[in-house]
């Protein structure tokens, strides 16, 4: 039973990671650095909370999160593609922007500096077991399905081929007629939408928005993308691994065996190890962070 609970808890924690990491793979494979995942998630969580609160419908919340995350991603894409701004700087600016905007509108909409009131989530039959509750959340299904779907899109569809081409060698892609920037816009927008849904899952699962509620999850998703060497399935496995570490930390809470701070470090340390290449080198898409030549 403990094992089942552990797996359930892990899956529940993994859903937002899986969504954001799937988006991160798409964006990075197209050549745009996924530093903004954190911002998309936080923005998505806030939009979901507001829309769900206003309409009473969790579905409306998810739609709002898709719009919010997608809009932020377009801002990122326009700045770095159209205006050729440095992706790292834009990425950090967008994360700061979302932190500021969510706090500002938290005051404006809910007149609070810390959290929203309770917002409706997806309907769960009362007294359902954790397993049943998880199964009744459609976003959990979306989260579990998104990894294989993105893998299929990336490796089995013309669009996926184009995404990989513009991320590896945009000039070569352009020379055979691939609309490089259009593919990059699309891949980035999709990544914003996916990460936004990841944020919506958080807000709707906890039935409220709290200031800074993503708490670095976007960066953990980015870590999973890199640790998974930019492959959707491996990134998904990395998400499960990191979520299992989170679960372990929750289970161990209070025990002195392993301080929680050390468990927190696991994803970040593993990512650095992966970059250094002790166990097989992680090699980024060749054109990551670079705008296509004009």
């Amino acid at each position: 039973m403990i094992v089942v609970l552990f797996i359930l808890q892990t899956l529940r924690i993994a859903v937002p990671y899986l969504l954001a990491a799937a988006g991160g793979v798409l964006s990075e494979r197209a050549g745009l650095i996924g530093l903004t995942l954190e911002g998309y998630m936080l923005g998505g969580a806030f939009c979901a909370a507001v829309a769900s609160y206003a309409t009473g419908s969790a579905t409306a919340g998810v739609v709002a999160a898709i719009i919010g995350g997608g809009a932020l991603a377009l801002l990122y894409a326009v700045s770095s593609i159209r205006y050729r701004a440095d992706q790292v700087v834009v990425g950090i600016a967008i994360n700061l922007l979302v932190i500021g905007l969510t706090r500002f509108f938290l005051r404006l909409v809910f007149d609070s500096s810390s959290n929203s009131p309770r917002v409706p989530g997806f309907h769960v039959t009362s007294g359902a077991s954790p397993l049943a509750a998880l199964l009744q959340n459609p976003l959990a299904w979306v989260g579990l399905a998104v990894t294989p779907i993105v893998a299929w899109v990336l490796y089995r569809t013309p669009f996926g081929l184009r995404v990989r081409a513009v991320g590896e060698h945009p000039e070569a892609a352009a020379s055979v007629g691939v609309p490089v920037n259009r593919v990059r816009y699309l891949a980035t927008a999709l990544s914003g939408m996916l990460a936004g849904v990841g944020g919506a899952y958080l807000a709707l699962d906890q039935h409220q928005f709290t200031d800074g509620m993503t708490a670095g999850r976007g960066f953990i998703a980015l870590a999973a993308v890199i640790f998974g060497r930019w492959d959707p399935m491996r990134a998904g496995l990395a998400c499960l691994l990191f979520a299992a570490a989170d679960t372990l930390q929750i289970q161990l809470q209070g025990s002195q065996a392993l301080p929680s701070q050390f468990v927190e470090m696991i994803p970040y340390v593993l990512t650095i190890v992966a970059l250094v290449g002790v166990v097989g080198r992680a090699v980024a898409p060749a054109a990551l962070g670079r705008p296509a030549a004009e």
Binding site: I33, L35, L75, S79, Y83, R84, A85, D86, V88, V89, V90, I92, A93, I94, L96, L97, I99, G100, L101, R103, F104, L106, R107, L108, S113, G216, F219, L222, A223, I226, P259, Q261, F262, E264, M265, Y268, V269, T271, I272, L275, V276, G277, A284, L288, G289, R290, P291
Partner: protein, 384 residues
Amino acid sequence: MPVNDPVTAPVAETPPPSPASTSAGGVRASRRSALEEAVLPPLVALLLAAVVGDALILVFGQSPGAVYHLLLEGTWGNAYGFGQVLYKATTLVFTGLAVGLGLRAGLFNIGAESQLAAGGFCAALVGLMLPAGIPSLLCLPVYVLAAAIGGGVVGGIPGVLKARFGAHEVIVTIMLNFVVLALLNYIISSKLHVPDTLHTAELRSGALPRVSGFIPAFQGSAANASILLAVAAAILFGWYLFRTRRGFELRAVGLQPRAAEYAGVNVAGVTWRALAISGAIAGLGGLNYVLGYKHYYEEGFATGAGFLGIAVALVGRNHPVGIVLAALLFATLSQGGLAVNALVPKQMVDVLQAVVILAVCTSVPEVRRLLRGARRSARSGGES
């Protein structure tokens, strides 16, 4: 990820020589165009930020004029507010210089946040071991060394990983931020804290004097003698970059690593040294809080200052004078948020700071392109 795409690389001080730049008038013209390229983007950015600010203020049902007036009144309008601006700018000068030095070498140090914390932590750690009654001037060098080592080690790790294994410094510094902050959190919360707080015990010697000790009007503000350290750091920064061989090599690597390598520069050496020095500078910023303000290390004192350092370096064009001015600008916004909180949520300035960064980094390449286009057409118009 490429080390040196044209956008990440710092901007050359002078634009490529134009045919006219051989004459003395041409030199003046190219100086002027360099100045235009440096000054115009921040102005465009401030304008954009003001527009967004207006919108936010109007959304909240207030008058922009009143809010901006209050913002200036609460920062540059009285000694206390100005003192707070100076205090906040001091930390930002350090983190801005840190990021700026990295950018001059073509390296992005996103880790100033944790380097600042590590510097403050190491200074406090050393300070806890010092007995009471040592004159501040005597133990200051010890503190400076401790803070520089703390930040330098945290900055040096990504430097070495980059130089030795090619691990991208952006990702490593981000990940290291989380690792170092978690580690410091563990040490403070389980070993060194005063019960029921998240800070260490107070240091017994080495406190830096407050400005209010000399000018009573600054009473209550945290501005302290660290300002002098920040100014010294900015001067040393300029001297190192523009007057030493090492600095020249660093800038050469930043502008064109392959050419620098061909010219005999040890690129790997420059890489790890630049990130280690960058971290050390960020670490020194911790003294402003630990020695100048609270006299202890407190969990979370560095929050945000590291990321704003990126903004400061960007707006300040990686130049010491620009960085000091940009630090004052961002410190004014931070303090101004508190001043206007009665009318609009102080979080408005977080948005404005982000808009300034976004506007600067999108307008720099755009303004440069437009200026060059305008000059080209002016020149061809004159010749025909």
